[in-house]
């Protein structure tokens, strides 16, 4: 009996002993066992699990069934020991007429936003939630669009009166009305938001007293659309558009992993190596953009770091274009493999990659002397936007944001997939917990990715076996009804998870995206409050948010 199974049995006993009335049932999901909890006691169940080491709430998704609404909590265990990795799900079935579940936002602060999203899109009300508002759709939206009975064509009219102008809002600081503050709307159009984020900021002089991120300006109904598309053909182009900064390969891998796991599709080894190669090139490009735009936030427009970073991105994008046919929206991975073999002539393409890898150390030196070595930048970025590791875990931050706080959680390492296990690489962590550490983690990861790319190129160059790029996949993929699976991969921004609930057809019944940026943004107000306005902007840059992924 393995460590994990034994732990699950012990857990069963603990939960049943301590909370006999909170447990309805035990269930088995495809990825992990599930505890079916009484909706009004679900917070106690999650709290017990947290005490037992499940310290990372990956996602909360809401699923509609004929006779109930379920809210599914995916918990993970983050420790330093890789063998210790483990996950568990908590299911809270709610009444179909007036779905209500007790909130877990007092156990995990990160649940706050996830539950708001579930309320917004599925209409499950969370009792005792501190801030039960819509999050993605406008406040005055009618209906909950992911419900089956939602009518897409219904007119969405709202009187002007109800659609209050946010500019007219007045802010009052609690308990201190005399405090002189200024309310400032940053965004949705603002050069530092890198997209369309609206920050309702309250300033006391130049110091940020309160900030409330308002998202949803790029909510593109990704989950809704994916639930209406075919597993095999049609969903694959959409993941490219979540984290759109040419991290598409990583997103596609998230989807491919989830459905390959669920439908038990094997991937040939050759294709797996190509996948790793493509993913790591994607990661280099994505991190380059993060570094460039962080510099943009601190320097102002037209600075050289931005230009140099984009130069490297161009080179990487050219290789990816040769491989997949597009610069950003690759649509390259397929269930059971990849779409095409490497571009011909292969030697030329490998030469391009090797040339880039050879130049990279020199370029990294330049970046480091411009970023890390520059005292003025250190003065700006060091010690600002402090994210303590405990807070980060509490909010479910992942990726470079978490690793910048010294926690070495990397899905590629703890829950290996694809070919990563066969390759040699390290997890980069810095424990400065500040803006600079997060940027340095990204620079370090570019180097690690380059190492991985080099190994893949070596393997592919000396490959003498069968170049099988796709395994035999059934013509239509129909996972058995009511199976659930949650898997995650390490995207450019962190743990990118997919939760699929199937209903026995060719299309998913529920398609939930756990986006790392969403959780990383949720922690933003903790980071920004008490900082100067300029540092708040820098912090926003160091979190590296992509709104296609935040809003989906």
């Amino acid at each position: 009996m393995s460590v994990v199974t034994r732990r699950h049995e012990e857990l069963h006993e603990t939960i049943e002993d301590e909370l006999p009335d909170a447990i309805l049932d035990f269930d088995e999901h495809h990825n992990a066992p599930a505890v079916v909890a009484n909706p009004s006691r679900v917070d106690d169940v999650v709290r017990i699990l947290k005490q037992n080491g499940y310290n990372h709430l990956s996602s909360v998704s809401a699923v509609e069934y004929d006779n109930r609404y379920e809210s599914v909590y995916h918990l993970r265990r983050i420790t330093d020991d890789r063998e210790d990795f483990d996950e568990i799900n908590v299911v809270a079935p709610a009444d179909p007429d007036e779905p209500a579940v007790e909130t877990v936002s007092d156990v995990f602060k990160g649940a706050n936003w996830h539950e708001r999203e579930a309320y917004d899109l599925m209409g499950i009300r969370y009792d005792n939630h501190p801030d039960m508002r819509r999050i993605l759709l406008p406040e005055t939206w009618k209906g909950h669009p992911l419900r089956d009975e939602y009518d897409v064509d219904q007119p969405q009219y709202t009187t002007l009166e109800a659609h209050a102008n946010p500019i007219e809002e007045r802010y009052e600081v609690e308990n201190d009305a005399a405090l002189d503050t200024m309310f400032l709307n940053i965004g949705p159009h603002h050069p530092a938001t890198h997209g369309v984020l609206h920050l309702k900021t309250v300033l006391d002089g130049e110091v940020v007293v309160d900030v409330d991120p308002d998202i949803g300006y790029l909510h593109r109904c990704e989950e809704y659309l994916c639930e209406r598309l075919d597993y095999k053909y049609q969903i694959m182009p959409y993941p490219d558009r979540w984290d759109y900064v040419s991290a598409g390969m990583l997103n596609e891998m998230a989807y491919a992993r989830c459905i390959e796991d669920l439908a038990e599709i094997d991937v040939p080894e050759y294709a797996q190596v190509i996948r790793v190669l493509a993913q790591e090139l994607s990661r280099i490009a994505a991190h380059m953009l993060a570094v460039g735009t962080f510099a943009l936030d601190i320097y102002g427009e037209l600075n050289v770091i931005f230009m140099y970073a984009f130069k490297d991105r161009e080179i990487v994008q050219e290789m990816l274009e040769d491989l997949s046919g597009q610069r950003l929206m690759f649509n390259y991975l397929r269930l059971g493999g990849v779409a095409y073999d490497l571009p011909e002539p292969r030697d030329e393409w490998f030469g391009k990659i090797r040339g880039f890898l050879d130049d990279l150390p020199g370029k990294m030196d330049e970046y480091r002397s411009l970023l890390e070595g520059n005292e003025l930048l250190r003065k700006r970025a060091e010690g600002t936007g402090i994210l303590e590791p405990e807070t980060a875990k509490e909010y479910g931050c992942t990726g470079p944001v978490l690793r910048g706080s010294g926690v070495g959680y990397d899905v590629r390492e703890v829950d290996p997939y694809g070919y990563y296990d066969e390759l040699d690489w390290d997890v980069v962590t810095y424990d400065g917990c500040d803006n600079l550490s997060r940027v340095l983690v990204r620079l370090g990861e570019v180097e690690e990715s380059a190492r991985l790319v080099e190994q893949c190129v070596d393997i592919l160059e000396s490959w003498d076996g069968d170049r099988e790029i796709q395994s035999r996949v059934p013509r239509s993929i129909t996972p058995p009804a009511e199976t659930e699976n949650y898997t995650a991969v390490e995207g450019a921004k962190g743990e990118l998870g997919i939760h699929i609930v199937s209903d026995g057809t060719e299309k998913p019944h529920r398609f939930k995206i756990r986006s790392p940026c969403f959780s990383n943004l949720a922690v933003f107000s903790e980071l920004a409050e008490g900082e100067y306005l300029a540092d708040m902007i820098a912090t926003l840059g160091s979190l590296d948010l992509v709104f296609g992924e935040v809003d989906r």
Binding site: L137, P138, T140, W141, P145, Y150, V152, P155, Q156, Y157, T158, T159, L160, A162, H163, N165, I167, E168, F183, L184, N185, I186, P188, H189, H190, P191, H194, G195, V196, G216, Y217, L218, H219, R220, C221, E222, Y224, L225, R228, P237, Y238, R241, Y244, V245, S246, L289, E301, F306, M307, Y308, F310, K311, R313, E314, Q317, R327, L328, M329, F547, G548
Partner: protein, 244 residues
Amino acid sequence: MLDKSKTPISERREGDVDPRMNSKLREMFGSIPIVTTTFDKVMNWARASSMFPFQFGIACCSIEMMHAVAIKHDMDRFGAGVYRNSPRQADLMIVPGTINAKLAPRVKRLYDQIPEPKFVVSMGSCTISGGPFQEGYNVVKGLETFAPVDIHVPGCPPRPEALLYGVMKMQEKVKRGESSPVTVKPYEIRELQDWSRDEVAEFFEDELEPDTLVMNYTHSPELSGSADVEDGVNETTPATEGEG
């Protein structure tokens, strides 16, 4: 003036003379045809050669837009590389990305804040028609449903070269004096300037269906009888987006 804004966009773009150029200066020079032609030519050349794009990133296409400005493609070669953050100083609005119900009023407002003459490039499938997300519940089916567009650049996302090509075409179009005309702006309706929203609503009572005088998230022409007027009413608030 209101009648003009009611005609569909497709009809408004017809016609030879560009009403954008109907400035006081042109009226002044208008009696001397030779001067007018030369003057127009020079002005059109200047407008085409110096386009300050508005830095407005929405989604995936904005990454390619950044690439178009950045090192490899360098849009500045065409004199169109000075990005301005404030709409007051911009004249080329590249709209790169999906517009949804929540964002659409903001895009409209930003468009209105750009001083004349202004040019709009709609970049990518999302901005043209909703693209991959057009079946979504809150996605606006194209920029053209609520703002005039001069050039559509298809692609998902278009290559930076395609955007450059689009901007070049835009410049050619401006040089030749073809570009879509001005829509009436709320502040041009002088009589409405100091009114509150309720008074505006009363004023338009006869002309409008009662339920069109509201926010319309879907922006589909069938649902809003006269979307332009309604949007105009929205914009009578003096506040600006940049005002915080």
